[in-house]
């Protein structure tokens, strides 16, 4: 199995205070005092050396949880939003066939596809200084200066080029800290993007946050000289412009336990079934699909089948009982997939049982 990979850049600012964390290569676990010029705000940029989703989600989460953003601000797959439903948003069959993993992030918003043609930019700050629009305007301005790209910001705070979406945005807001992160589609595999985000209609009833689908465009298709590496330099330098402190340059960081103590735990917390699938808001799948009066309603809570409601009569009592035995209180995962595959419950159940079996198998194609 391969992980979808992407590049990650974090922007932040460091103010003069008694206690600061030295953010150069690679003494993040050391806290020392530094003397700065008066009223200086030091801007720093991290670029993650990793292209692994879970490491990059973990580094974002580590910075959000561990940094004092009163003294410093920061600018640093298929990834779904915190309150989304992967069974609604993602084509799990295509993901499974292509060996692509799914991850869930902590911020809101919709589903995105990441590969190395995508740059994820994370702007960290204190809650008081959080200003998403300003971050997006900075991106548009710097891209315009360098490549003459006429980027605009939509009411949903997507970045558009020629009416196509080239960037999506999401945020996490805490009491002290906040971050805004956004994607930049530079040279993403569009066929794969549509393939993974194309959804089989399972008729799922849920109040999870839906994605708002938009037609997308790669920046490289308009401007052939552009690349992720160059954008990293341009955005990083633009962020640090006008900084009166010593220029630290871009810090290329490894999301390792040594530099970010506790990050291994965070990485594990992002890369397990309980987070990715178990955190899905409750939903109901009805069968047969699209029927006004379904024969079977499957209630899923925390990624687990909590209840089966049988209505109408094409599934007889004996088979209802056996289905319940097979499915109740089971997590929608590979174990259940195998149980369903090898079960004989579906034999002679009714005419439609093959389709029911197929639908159930689809629900279990969870990749973590």
């Amino acid at each position: 199995m391969t992980y979808l990979r992407y590049r990650q850049i974090c922007f932040f600012r460091q103010f003069r205070q008694g206690k600061t964390i030295i953010l150069r290569n690679m003494k993040l676990s050391t806290i020392a005092s530094q003397s700065f010029h008066n009223d200086v705000s030091k801007k720093l940029v991290f670029v993650s050396k990793s292209t692994n989703i879970f490491e990059n989600l973990a580094i974002e989460d580590w910075l959000y949880k561990n940094f004092d953003f009163e003294t410093q601000s920061l600018l640093f797959i298929v990834v779904i939003g915190r309150h989304q439903n992967p069974w609604v948003e993602v084509n799990l069959k295509n993901m499974s066939e292509n060996g692509v993993f799914l991850s869930r992030r902590n911020s809101g918003g919709g589903t995105v596809y990441h590969d190395t043609g995508n740059l994820n930019c994370s702007f960290f700050s204190s809650r008081a200084r959080y200003n998403r629009k300003s971050n997006l305007e900075n991106i548009c301005q710097s891209m315009k200066c360098n490549w003459n790209l006429d980027l605009t910001i939509s009411p949903r705070e997507d970045i558009l080029l020629n009416s196509y979406k080239v960037s999506g945005t999401a945020s996490k807001l805490g009491h002290k800290n906040a971050y805004h992160h956004c994607t930049l589609l530079v040279d993403v595999d569009s066929t794969k993007l549509h393939h993974m985000l194309k959804v089989d209609q399972l008729g799922i009833k849920s109040n999870s946050t839906p994605s708002v689908r938009s037609p997308t465009l790669n920046l490289k298709s308009i401007c052939s000289q552009i690349s992720v590496d160059e954008i990293i330099q341009v955005l990083g330098n633009y962020y640090i412009r006008n900084s009166s402190s010593q220029f630290e340059g871009l810090n290329f960081v490894e999301p390792s336990e040594e530099k970010f103590p506790g990050i291994d735990m965070l990485k594990l917390s992002f890369s397990n079934w309980h987070w990715t699938y178990g955190k899905t808001p409750s939903f109901v799948v009805c069968w047969p699909l699209g029927e006004q009066s379904p024969e079977l309603s499957i209630v899923v809570q925390n990624g687990q089948i909590e209840r089966l409601d049988f209505q109408n009569i094409t599934i007889d009592k004996e088979h209802s009982r056996k289905l319940s035995e097979l499915l109740l209180n089971q997590k929608l995962d590979n174990n259940l997939y195998n149980k369903i595959l090898s079960s004989n419950v579906f034999e002679k159940m009714n005419d439609n049982c093959a389709k029911l079996k197929e639908m159930l198998l689809l629900l279990c194609l969870t990749s973590v």
Binding site: S107, G108, N207
Partner: protein, 123 residues
């Protein structure tokens, strides 16, 4: 009713406190599209991160104003998060908690204190 600096309110009857977010908070959030509320029986300490409200692609953390055990979450709000915007102090309540340390209420803001806090932080 008491308030926190994180723009939450708590209304205590006996040992049970009903918790919600203030009118200022719902306005600042914008249209709430999803409410992730703490589960009944979960034990919370004061200021624990206990859920989130999602609006306009931003997930804002919810904090518990007091320590205790959650006894109920508002299922209506889970179904219809817009209740938080429409009626933040009545139908838009978020969860009920049995207080384990009622003395924590003393340090929370009263109405005048909260109004002052809003003024001082430029809202």
């Amino acid at each position: 009713r008491k308030y926190t600096e994180q723009h939450e309110w708590i209304d205590v009857q006996g040992k049970i406190g009903t918790v919600g977010v203030t009118d200022y908070a719902q306005g600042a959030l914008g249209d709430v599209v999803f409410a992730q509320l703490p589960e009944p029986d979960s034990e919370l300490n004061q200021m624990d991160d206990c859920g989130a409200l999602e609006s306009v692609k931003a997930a804002s953390e919810l904090y518990s104003p007091v320590s205790g055990t959650v006894v109920e979450k508002n299922k209506d709000v889970e179904e219809t998060p817009a209740l938080i915007n429409q009626s933040p102090y009545e139908q838009g309540w978020l969860f009920k908690i049995q207080l384990s340390k009622p003395e924590e209420l003393d340090a929370l803001l009263d109405e005048a204190g909260y109004e002052n806090h809003l003024k001082n932080t430029g809202h």
